[in-house]
Symmetry: none
Subunit: 216 residues, 4 copies
């Protein structure tokens, strides 16, 4: 027998509120979001927001934190010193790309925060940049040492570029959809983009055979 309409489930109430808030803040940004709208959509009394979180701002912070925690808890692929830098690079980029694909709210929150210079997320943004593709730095550096990646790669710049390609793609997904006449919510279509990114990057940083010949 299925449960009937149950009330008073603070756990669920709070989650419902956070989910709704995430949706609204994500869609309209902090300034554009309306507390009333969040309450209405969450089917919650407006006052509860203030009992549970204290203010619109605190609610937003909680939404940010929760969304960002997802990145930290996401299962990032490990890379060891013995592993192949090329394969590792591809794996890490793949993981990041699909994380963003699975967390569109994260992408947008990051976007809003970037525009407000992290007025609310503060220094966490830096940690996020680092948490996402940070390990890529180590991998690239190892690749350079092993001679399979070009010498003239500025590691942190490269990481930033990869970040922008992935984040940017999902930031403007809707735009590209219209521009390319393609349904980009489709995972296979997304994968085409990912493949391109990896192809360009790997080819872009791979040491030239003749170069290594010259060197060797």
């Amino acid at each position: 027998m299925p449960e009937k309409k149950r009330k008073r489930d603070p756990q669920k109430t709070k989650k419902r509120l956070l989910d709704t808030a995430e949706r609204v803040f994500t869609e309209r940004g902090f300034d554009g979001a309306r507390v009333d709208e969040i309450a209405a959509q969450a089917k919650i009394n407006k006052g509860m927001i203030y009992i549970l979180f204290g203010s619109k701002e605190a609610l937003y912070d909680e939404v940010l934190k929760r969304s960002f925690r997802r990145l930290f808890k996401s299962n990032r692929p490990e890379s060891s010193a013995e592993a192949d830098p090329v394969a590792d690079t591809a794996a890490l980029v793949r993981w990041y790309f699909w994380f963003l694909s699975d967390n569109p709210h994260f992408v947008r929150l990051f976007g809003w925060e970037s525009l407000t210079s992290g007025k609310r997320a503060g220094k966490v943004l830096l940690d996020l940049l680092d948490e996402g593709l940070g390990p890529l730095q180590v991998i690239i550096r190892r690749g350079k040492e092993q001679g399979c990646f070009r010498d003239d790669i500025a590691v942190h710049k490269l990481v930033a570029m990869v970040n922008e390609m992935c984040l940017g793609f999902f930031s403007r997904l809707k735009l590209f959809e219209v521009l390319w006449h393609k349904d980009l919510s489709n995972r296979e279509h997304q994968e085409e983009m990912l493949d391109q990114i990896i192809t360009i990057i790997l080819n872009g940083i791979r040491a030239n055979p003749q170069d290594s010949a010259r060197r060797g």
Copy 2:
């Protein structure tokens, strides 16, 4: 020669207002911007905004249009069918990169509009994407045909990637400044980034010698 009254110069007033509005909208977004603040900073009477533009929204639209027009009027390098696709690619990316560097407001407005799905800029965003790096498509395609660029490049995806690398870099300039401990308002430091982008891209898309050998 028209008479010179004391203060009234509707042309200048309007420009001052647009400049101020651009600054404020750029900084805070449409929802975060305040008509009062714009009027105060422009040292203009609030009512004038409504006489000159009709509404906050219309003022914003005008700011958008003016900012976007700058891209259309910017002196984009031409490329002919005889030119070297490699050099052309580099030239176009350079031009786009420096345009963004010179027009930080454009970068931010584009950012806000991307997040609101172009609620206000509408389809212009598409034109902008096209206007900026659009010709790159032609160049790349020509490069592929001439065999100097890899076969497996998806042209429009590549263009998007370049766009994101440039736009994203300037979108998160402040973040990278802190992350890299570097003054990125400095043009020379910006150039380092540009060089990396071009290096990676060109290497990323260049046809492999052995590949062309195999083909040839």
Copy 3:
């Protein structure tokens, strides 16, 4: 002997609540007091207030009543027809003064009620005025008859004056503390004030020797 369960002692709970409510209402007045604050400080569940008293207003009424009852139950000195009006006057004023000193909450509640025209205490205020120094009227009148007090004393006005001197002193205790650079919570310092009041009053109402001589 009734069983002793863990915590439930409705008697004590109610007292604790009333004590806390008295403190909070006294400090901030009815409008400034917060039901939440009272409940929190009394370490009681908010709902209990409504179970025990029904409303914020009813709780306030109960606080008022309890505080006012203390005046009625206070051990006021008796005066008989044979007694000395001068000594009786001093005794009664002393008693009233120390009652106020011992019941600062009473003083403040009276103050709030005076400002709201007894919107809540209602006519009880009148009874209180009467209950406090009321008997002074009889004493003074007897003193006038016996010739030891001046003829031209308007009895009820005098009583009011004494009342204001005592009540007013304690109402603005904190102010006088700062003004006089003196710790007026100190009982001995309070006594100095009382002595002054009694001195002035007794000298103020005592029949002049020459007057009585003239009359006699």
Copy 4:
């Protein structure tokens, strides 16, 4: 021809608002007053309060200041070293008494502030106490030196007592009206109270003939 309904008179608007605010704050205290009510009674748009004053609190402050200024601007009688201390005392008390009678809002605002320990009026309360009957200290002291006032008068305590008699009378005017079955808005009836106060005080502090005889 009488002027028609004229609008847009910022001077009058502000005064109307302050007058209304004074009335409402005076009646209900800061916490009990409602911004909406003030706006409605002043026939003003609620927003104007925030344009003109910034906040409910700032409006209250302005009301306080304006009311208190009236005391400072009131024409207090001067007293010279040659004057008769007895007459001077009477004159000063008379002046203070009638000032309070003419400024019932002042009396009530002072009352609210006393209860909140001047949370909003701050240290001004001290100045007010001083500004009102402050000069009485000098007069009494001179009277003591000249031998016409008793030695054992504590000057500042006496001043406080006079203050309380006057202020207290007007604070509880409504109560006394009911208690005494007398219309105390009537100036002549008020004067009876004033006469009593002065009589008691002067008799209370006058040096006893026999005392001065003993001394002389």
